[in-house]
């Protein structure tokens, strides 16, 4: 194992400072730069010249989110498979069995989802 010395972690600290600095900077700068105008006409709800109707929070199908989350889930699993594929020869059969386990778990979850009817858009 390579010996790391604390100085090697300076980038990390640097990143932390930078991230914090950026956030604080943007919060402050928007207050300074942003032109502000306040009057009754501006504060009134307005939509293409028509009086606005109903709630600003429109309902969205929950199913869409479910699909999106499932997508992210499988997406991340693919990312996990990539390094395995690169090191496939080095890991050998042990790696193969491990990956089989992993995929089995994943598929079990997938099957569970189907059984639960999450992907079933038509019913109810």
């Amino acid at each position: 194992m390579t010996d790391y010395i604390p100085q090697d972690y300076q980038p990390l600290l640097f990143q932390l400072v930078l991230a914090l600095g950026f956030i604080i900077f943007t919060i402050l700068i928007t207050h300074v730069l942003g032109p502000r105008l306040k009057n009754a006409a501006k504060d009134a709800p307005f939509e293409c010249g028509i009086e606005s109707v109903g709630d600003a929070r429109a309902p969205l199908a929950v199913r869409y989110f479910l699909i999106a989350i499932l997508f992210v889930l499988f997406d991340v699993e693919i990312i996990f498979m990539y390094p395995w594929a690169v090191n496939f020869l080095k890991l050998g059969w042990f790696g193969f069995v491990e990956m089989l386990f992993f995929v089995t778990f994943l598929m079990a979850g997938f099957y569970y989802i189907i059984r639960k009817g999450v992907l079933n858009w038509e019913n109810d």
């Binding site: 194992m1 010996d3 790391y4 604390p6 090697d8 972690y9 990390l12 079990a108 569970y112």
Partner: protein
Amino acid sequence: MYPILFLSFSGLITLFLGFFQEGKWVKPATILFLAIASISAFIDWNKPGAYFFNMLQVNNFNLLLSLVILITAILIVAISDNFKEIEYAHSAEYYAIMQFSLVGAIMMTNFQSLIMLFLGVEILSVSMYVLTGTDKRNLRGNEAAIKYFLLGAFATGILLFGIAMIYGGVGAFEIDAISGTLASNQAQSLFLYIGLVMLLIGLLFKLAAAPFHFWTPDVYEGAPTIFTLFMATIVKTAVVFALYRILHQSFQNMHLSWSYILAGCIALSLIIGNLSAVKQISFKRMLAFSSISHAGFLLLGLLHVSKTADKSLLFYSVSYLLASTSAFGVLLALKNERTENGRSNENISVFKGLATRSPFLSAVLIISMLSLAGIPLTGGFWSKFYVLTDAANDQFFYLIVLALLLTAVGVYYYFKPIITVFEKSDIQEAITINPIFKIIFVLTTLGTLVLGLFPDLLYGMI
């Protein structure tokens, strides 16, 4: 190690059992799985060693911790009742998640590498976020879940950052390696200090110690009672022993640095926990604040690196989880008592007239409250005794005096339910108790009393 493997599979099986005969086998199967997992822990008995590339350490004490966690889980599962209360309940999922969360808890008590600690914390926490929000129609439950998730995720981030920093300071994740490095060279890098503090913050948050306690009352109150019990017992035990391994087995040479941080947290936890509990009307909220003060006591056992700290902490955990199981269990047994708006009454007033309605339940409640308050004859007294004698040295003796004085405050609020039990109520009908509840209550109450009379039975055994 075997419980971890087994529970990962059995959790999956539990999920699919939910499809089978409308899920009526899920609960018995879960108890069976947990029992098998407890037995499987004994495969490694007297065979200390390391697993998973030296990321997990197994020895008899760690196995005992796993056992304590698993047995508590059995008790908790036994007094749950398929979540009939919750609308649109997916009970198989909850039981499965409970089993997965136990995997995390056992990892947290048996870890050798900080990476494993992080994994354990994540598995346990994510499960708890989900379980907190299971009652989807309960606004308070939703609020609790979101609060717990946002703050918890933040805390986990800090924890991970801390681990990275520690790696920067010593170049290793294994706690043995860290302690070896710390023992050999004197001057420590700044990263190590920052890392340790961050790691502590992350874990203290999970322990619900002040000043990282703000989520506790809302989450305890909002979550379904059974999961509140889960949080108060299993999560606490796991986190305390994770802290024990970090502070006493890897950072013991930096005792001077962390003991002051800990002392501050202890004082704050005791003061905030005890004083805020006094005014509570909701029983669950009161127990939430009391759990903060108990976190303070548990930390008190960690304050001083001594040979007996592990025993004292285990004794404290066991007596605390026995008493908590009784206390929350009584509340669960009374869940058919409704308030005006139709929800289960979770205020202290629910115990009104319990002495005439069910002498058995009142005895269980009274003994659990006495134990939580630390009155002799119950395990709570000796657990406080062990922790305090461990922590007693000249440097922090004021903390002990503070702890004991605040225990007097504790007596004040723990006795509120007891007095309510003896108040007269308009409702006279007797309460019927499920036989499983009866068995569990007899076990926990007897356990509390036996620990109170013969503390050596447990303490001498470890």
